[in-house]
Amino acid sequence: MTSVAERDENGDSKGGSMTRRTPLGTPLAARRDLGWIGIPLVAAVGLAAFWLLPDDLALLTRIAASALFVLSLDLVLGYGGIATLGQAAMFGTGAYAAGIVAVNWNNDPFVMLAAGGLAGGLIALATGALILHARGLTLLMLTIAVGQIVQEVANKARDWTGGSDGLSGVDPAPVLGMFRFDMYGRTSYLFALAVLVVGLLVARRIVRSPFGLACRGVSEDPLRISAIGGSPKSYLVVLYGVAGVFAGVAGALTAVTSGIVGLDSAGFPWSAEALVMLVLGGTGRLYGAVIGTAAFMGIHHILAASDPFHWMGFIGLFLIGIVLFLPGGIASGLERLGGLLRGPSQNNGEDRA
């Protein structure tokens, strides 16, 4: 398993059907998510949380908005095989776009979301077209660099963004003119949950579309896609752009529900955290993003009182453990459990490792 992979004339690994695997080394099988039950389940759990944990709505709102962000990362990483440490660039762009629109022109929450999505999508398309010919370490560096530049631009454009103090005074109008963003955070949470559920539905539609099918092919074997007449880079750029829209909406949602936008919304640590959350939950499954975000932020909240270095050590050990023992994340653990419970009468060809 650890034999050095073959290389083609560029020195890149000859993926082919031999060594190419998903991002974390487990072979992707024919992808089925939880089926139609997955998304209603998320909605149901979300609503249950609303009633069961009324004092933690701020945290739950953050989880919902972050889950949408992590979902955007799943699109590029889990379905496109693009390893990026710069997804926060789109999140931050969306957040600032929404905030600036709200402060200066129109504070309707849907307009804000649209502004965020548009901004995130445009940045993603522009940078994606530039950098997605690269792979491996080079691509990683490029995504980091883009993120840093967005952060720097936000820092310098003080008049618009508030610079290092952040953008405050983002005060969204009532949803549909009726539901005010109250100080208990009820509207915020339900709004965020609704946006997340809609996001999941749209994402699900996309990954099951012809486009989604082609992207899965690109992530597994780009040369094979050329051999059937497709252009791998075109698919990846569009996917990156779509994910940018999701990330931008997530950023805008954060601006709507928290009322402020800070520089760290575009920063490298946020990109890295999203990656950790996604891997924790399990890539390539959409709902894995939700699980991972909830687990990570939930645990962080519980351990928040302790020394940040302890948290870091804990996360570090956790990451090592995931890579070594549970590469498919929590979702794969659940799936295995589900497989066991359903008994051995499954189709042979569709088991997931």
């Binding site: 398993m1 650890t2 034999s3 050095v4 992979a5 073959e6 290389r7 560029n10 020195g11 890149d12 690994s13 993926g15 060594t19 190419r20 695997r21 991002p23 974390l24 080394g25 990483l77 390893a83 440490l85 530039l130 950098i131 010919h133 690269a134 792979r135 491996g136 370490l137 080079t138 990683l140 560096m141 490029l142 980091i144 660099a145 883009v146 840093q148 530049i149 720097e152 631009v153 310098k156 490298f268 890295a272 990656l275 950790v276 891997v279 270095f309 302890h310 870091m312 050590g313 996360i315 570090g316 050990l317 956790f318 990451l319 090592i320 995931i322 890579v323 070594l324 590469p327």
Partner: protein, 289 residues
Amino acid sequence: METMFGIAVDGVAYGMILFIISVGLSVTLGLMRVVNLAHGAFAMVGGYVASYAAQEAGLPYAAALVVAVALTVLATLPLERLLYRRIYGSANELAQVLLTIGLTFVIVAGINYLFGPTLKRIPLPELLTGTVELGPKAIPAHRAFVIAAGAATLLGLWWLLERTDFGIRLRAAVDDPAMAAALGIRTERLYLATFALGTGLAALGGVLGAELLPLEPYYAIRYIVLFLAVVAVGGAGSIFGSAAAALALGIVDTAGKYLIPSFGEFFFYAALILILFRWPHGFFKGRTA
């Protein structure tokens, strides 16, 4: 007020430190195809061990340096066996990123636990505290030492790769791993030795560069992007590429900080994007030393 000469000296010294630390990362990426984000943590560990040895154990600078490199290498060898070996190969890129980030976090937390969050210094010996005359100009002795060490490292590595058995086997294994194995080259031992070399150099750089890259627990996270940038621009596995990239980035970064301080970072990342966009395989395009 820093003169251009002063900036150049600082830039070159900084670049040399970046080179000494990053070249190990470049070689391990070129040979084992592993993106080791914990490489900065290894440099940091080296620096901390030297600092402890010099300040608590009272060892002279040179001894502290040797002890630091030796202990860091010894401590990381088991990691190669237990962890890294499982994630070699470019198909495992994400696993590498995650595992090595995790390892970095663990090391950072550990360093903080053992030594606390304050800055650590490595007291310089008398010899390195003055200045060195170079004709009409004077350079701080420490900077001169670092520059000399960098040059020595470059030459030493070149000699190692071009003139020794080990070097030939290493280059063969990088160029064609299957063939190398077929020729009886013990790739596993080669990986271990190369890993040790890379870590040792990182530790060396961490110690030598403690004046320029201050030692505190976040060191590993703060500077890893720099080391990765050197490797990406220089081209994985290329010694001279790393040297050129490190010097270029070192000078650009230093110049940026002095001349246009408010845009320093922007400059660096924009340059990085431009270079990598034009030469995605690195400026020196290839894996030859």
